[in-house]
Amino acid sequence: MFQKILIANRGEIAVRIIRACREMGIKTVAVYSEADADALHTQLADEAVCIGPAASSESYLNPERILSATIASKAEAIHPGFGFLSENPKFVEMCEKCHVAFIGPSAEIIQKMGNKSEARATMIKAGVPVVPGTKKPVYDVDTALKEAKKIGFPVMIKASSGGGGKGMRVAENAETFGEMFRLAQRESVNAFGDDTMYLEKYVGRPRHVEVQILADKFGNVVQLGERDCSIQRRHQKMIEESPCIAIDAKLRKKMGDTAVRAAKAVGYENAGTIEFLLDHTGDFYFMEMNTRIQVEHPVTEFVSGVDLIKEQIRIAAGEPLSVKQKDIVIRGHAIECRINAEDPEHNFRPCPGTVKELHIPGGNGVRIDTALYSGYKIPPQYDSMLMKVIVYDKDRESALAKMRSVLGEVIIDGVQTNIDFQFKILNHPEFRAGNVTTHFIPEHFDME
């Protein structure tokens, strides 16, 4: 096992990792930018090394500086957290060259999963369902219609050069297909001078459901159930829960098995997440694989009882998984709300500031992951997430009730937060009923 780990990150995730290390008797080295000299992770770690100016590119995104700090502090491993260099294959390669263990998968796997078309091809090969679509570009209506019928309606027509919704149309059936195709193609020609089109099955009103997996160096792969992360604003997740109430035991097993098969197919190692789109009929399609720990990992930790960060460290140190699939039982219900320093009344603009008064609630089944402390000045250069509030109870209704109670107790005085907006979501009848899709926020809240 490692004796010293360097955490190449900041904020609550750095603190979360430091805590796991302390529990395991591993010394920690924090790295920090000039803007983070007073940050909690800097103060909590056993050692802290300044790696440059506030700009991420000069500090948390600078592989040379982070590796220099690692070598100077004699740390044996680097935990990258999420974001920053966590999915940078070149950084992983550099770590390998310097004989530093990177707590995550190999550079090769990160590279492979980071490339959308390669990841898709790999998944098709492994028998993982992907959103059906044309493999080759289509140019004329007749060929396109034949392809569309093969895929099955509704069909999404996409311009190859498309972006910002331009050259994109949904055809509900064969009758309207011709018109929609022509419209999309004309738009593409006008906007991009390109008539190359693709077709894809339109997954209407989907949920974002992802499966957590763990894999060790010995080929053992387990899945720890799913997370429903449908509540998103502009692709930023806001609320995550586990389990997903829209799926039954049979589908859960099917999705879990598929995720394990996908991980095995790429020879995956360490913690990872397979993201699926789940439609209302129970069909699911591979979206992408995240080759790192995720923000919302605590909900899985609550329902499975497995500490994912500690498992990550064990795997990287060459130890086998501490759990077997049969030992993993998903119990109860966990929900996470992300509290951000932003102003929902003004298009969610970030509002950094100084925390004057801070009250962190506690109690049974309550977990608060944050890097805030009283008097902390939030630097404006980084992500606006301040705190993750995670609650656990026997079922969704009890967990929701607990979340309301806990959120009502959180005090972060001096900083504008999205807590009120979180209440609006929590108290929305559709959300309470569990009727959510990835369109939930734009459909029910008219703010943009």
Binding site: Q3, Q43, E64, K74, E76, K97, H99, S374
Partner: protein
């Protein structure tokens, strides 16, 4: 600021037992990181290697080992090193010198400070050499001098070009006067190589100083340098100490040398191979001749109907003074406008190798339908800023000397010469006189008369006096329809003859300055028609016409015997 740091208990303080010692700590294998010489940052070596040894962060240049340098330009697997077993006789019996050499050989895996041999670059056989600063700062002792001399002699014998990547601290102190003599020895070998009509390309890399600069480094037919390379005879520290002054930023750097006319150009490392291949192709292949003239009729540039509709003059109605105005117009295309349209792959070569690179004269090598030609032109600017750089198209003595250097280079390699003339006159100023404006023009007239290659001159705008003639001693001189060519400006003429420069318009009419007048006077051989005064709208069609005419010229003259060419030119001016 809350000082929690001292309040938190450290990991070792919360554990029941002491932590065991670390099993392993990261050990970085040597060479994973290297420090950039410019930005001083540690950079990942793989990135540097992939980027031709240029820092991916700041663009700073790393010094290269001789082996790597040769690998960068030579075609894979073609290079064979020569003379690897030469031993210095240690002429001074310098204490510990031989031991030091032995140690260095072991450390660097080099036999001496230069690696030289034969290889191919872009499929062309060449003698290729590279110095290596890791070996006593690539100083030149007997072995370095001998290897280079022998290699150049071999190149002469085998009729091969030489490509030399230079860098050095200078002469090797440990070998004293023997080392000094290497300068003369290598230069002498290069003289014979040059006299044999062979091409020598010298590439100066960081740092090239002392006795190497003062010998083989500076003797290239073409001298290129890498950006930012330190190049000089005396080192900057020595100069600063001697004169007791702080040296200016960029002093003795490659760009400084280009500005001061000493080298032909600065080339980024990434583009170096391509540039070398291009230059070798032009200098080492058989001289290509134009195919016999085809019967195809060359269409004259069509009338610009749009311009006519705008009510512009028909050319026939233009007075001489009108044409003087048109020739001076800032709308008129410049030499570079024509060069870029007519020729392919133009590479500008800078400098007179003596004082300064004159912005008013541009010159270099390009291809005309696949045939390499030397092109030289007087260049005017289009904006005030450009015009200050170009000195309003008024060349200085160093400009004429650059032109002559390029013409002599063309003659050596049997390349036809095409000049573009567009100048109000040679620069009139104190500096020009100090450096011998008259001498520079006279020298060009004399030397051009005897060039053994075809020379074509085209007056595209103003043909002002001696400053124009200095590029105009050609086998044929053509003028564009609205160009002028004269003893001096109409204003000057009126002022000298009539003491009234305001009578310039009148002067223009009597001076016979237009193309039509000069054709009648047999001062020129041809007129490039402009159905509408040349501007960016009809530039393309005029260029196309000019290009076809040029091909005709080359077909006619390129096959002539060199002596006959010079004789024809002699006779052409003899009859005037």
């Amino acid at each position: 600021m809350a000082n929690l740091k001292n309040l938190f208990r450290k990991t070792e303080d919360i554990l029941p037992e002491e932590l065991p010692a670390a099993e392993h700590t990261p050990d970085v294998p040597a060479g994973v990181w290297i420090k950039c010489p410019k930005c001083q940052e540690a950079v990942y070596k793989d990135d540097v290697v992939k980027n031709s040894y240029v820092c991916p962060k700041c663009g700073g240049y790393f010094r290269m080992k001789a082996k790597t340098r040769i690998k960068l330009v030579a075609d894979a697997g073609t290079f064979v090193p020569w003379f690897e077993d030469l031993q210095t006789k240690d002429p001074l019996k310098f204490p510990d010198y031989l031991e030091k050499l032995e140690a260095l050989k072991e450390k660097t895996h080099l036999d001496e400070a230069v690696r030289i041999g034969i290889g191919k670059i872009g499929g062309i056989d060449a003698v290729i050499g590279a110095c290596d600063t890791r070996f006593l700062m690539a100083s030149m002792g007997w072995v370095v001098g001998e290897k280079i001399t022998r290699a150049v002699e071999e190149a002469t014998r085998l009729r091969l070009p030489v490509v030399m990547f230079c860098c050095s601290g200078g002469a090797r102190m440990q070998e004293g006067i023997t080392s000094l003599m290497q300068m003369a020895k290598t230069s002498a070998a290069l003289k014979r190589h040059s006299e044999a009509g062979l091409f020598y390309l010298s590439v100066l890399t960081d740092p090239t100083t002392g006795g190497v600069t003062a010998s083989f480094a500076m003797l290239g037919d073409v001298i290129l340098a890498e950006p930012g390379a330190l190049i000089g005879f005396a080192g900057p520290r020595v100069i600063a100490q001697t004169i007791g002054q702080k040296l200016p930023e960029g002093f003795q750097r490659a760009e400084f040398l280009q500005e001061h006319g000493i080298i032909d150009g600065v080339v980024e490392r990434g583009q170096l191979k391509e540039r070398i291949v291009r230059l070798l192709t032009w200098h080492c292949r058989e001289v290509k001749l134009f195919a016999p003239e085809t019967e195809e009729k060359i269409p004259e540039p069509a009338a610009n109907t749009k311009a006519r509709r705008r009510g512009l003059h028909k050319n026939e109605e233009l007075t001489a003074w009108d044409r003087v105005q048109i020739a001076r117009s800032s709308e008129r295309p410049t030499s570079l406008d024509y060069m870029n349209r007519i020729f392919d792959d133009f590479i500008e070569l800078h400098g007179d190798r003596a004082f300064r690179d004159d912005g008013a004269i541009v010159g270099g090598i390009a291809e005309l339908n696949g045939v390499p030609v030397t092109v030289i032109g007087v260049q005017k600017g289009k904006t005030t800023k450009e015009n200050i750089f170009r000195n309003f198209g008024m060349p200085s003595p160093e400009g004429y000397r650059k032109a002559l250097r390029l013409m002599k280079q063309a003659e050596k390699f049997r390349r036809p010469i095409i000049t573009f003339i567009d100048t109000p006159g040679a620069f009139c100023g104190m500096e020009a006189e100090e450096r011998g404006q008259g001498e520079a023009i006279a020298r060009n007239l004399m030397e051009m008369s005897d060039l053994k290659v075809p020379v074509l001159a085209i007056v595209i705008g103003e043909g002002g006096s001696g400053g124009a003639l200095a590029l105009g001693v050609a086998n044929e001189v053509w003028m564009m329809e609205n160009a002028t060519y004269s003893i001096l400006s109409p204003e000057g003429f009126a002022s000298i003859l009539w003491k009234d420069s305001k009578r310039a318009k009148e002067a223009a009419e009597v001076m016979k300055v237009t193309a039509a007048d000069l054709l009648k006077l047999q001062v020129i051989e041809g007129i490039i028609p402009e159905n509408h005064p040349a501007d960016k709208e009809n530039l393309a069609e005029i260029s196309e016409y000019m290009k076809q005419k040029m091909c005709g010229f080359l077909t006619k003259y390129q096959s002539l015997d060199p002596q006959k060419l010079a004789q024809q030119r002699y006779d052409r001016f003899r009859r005037m």
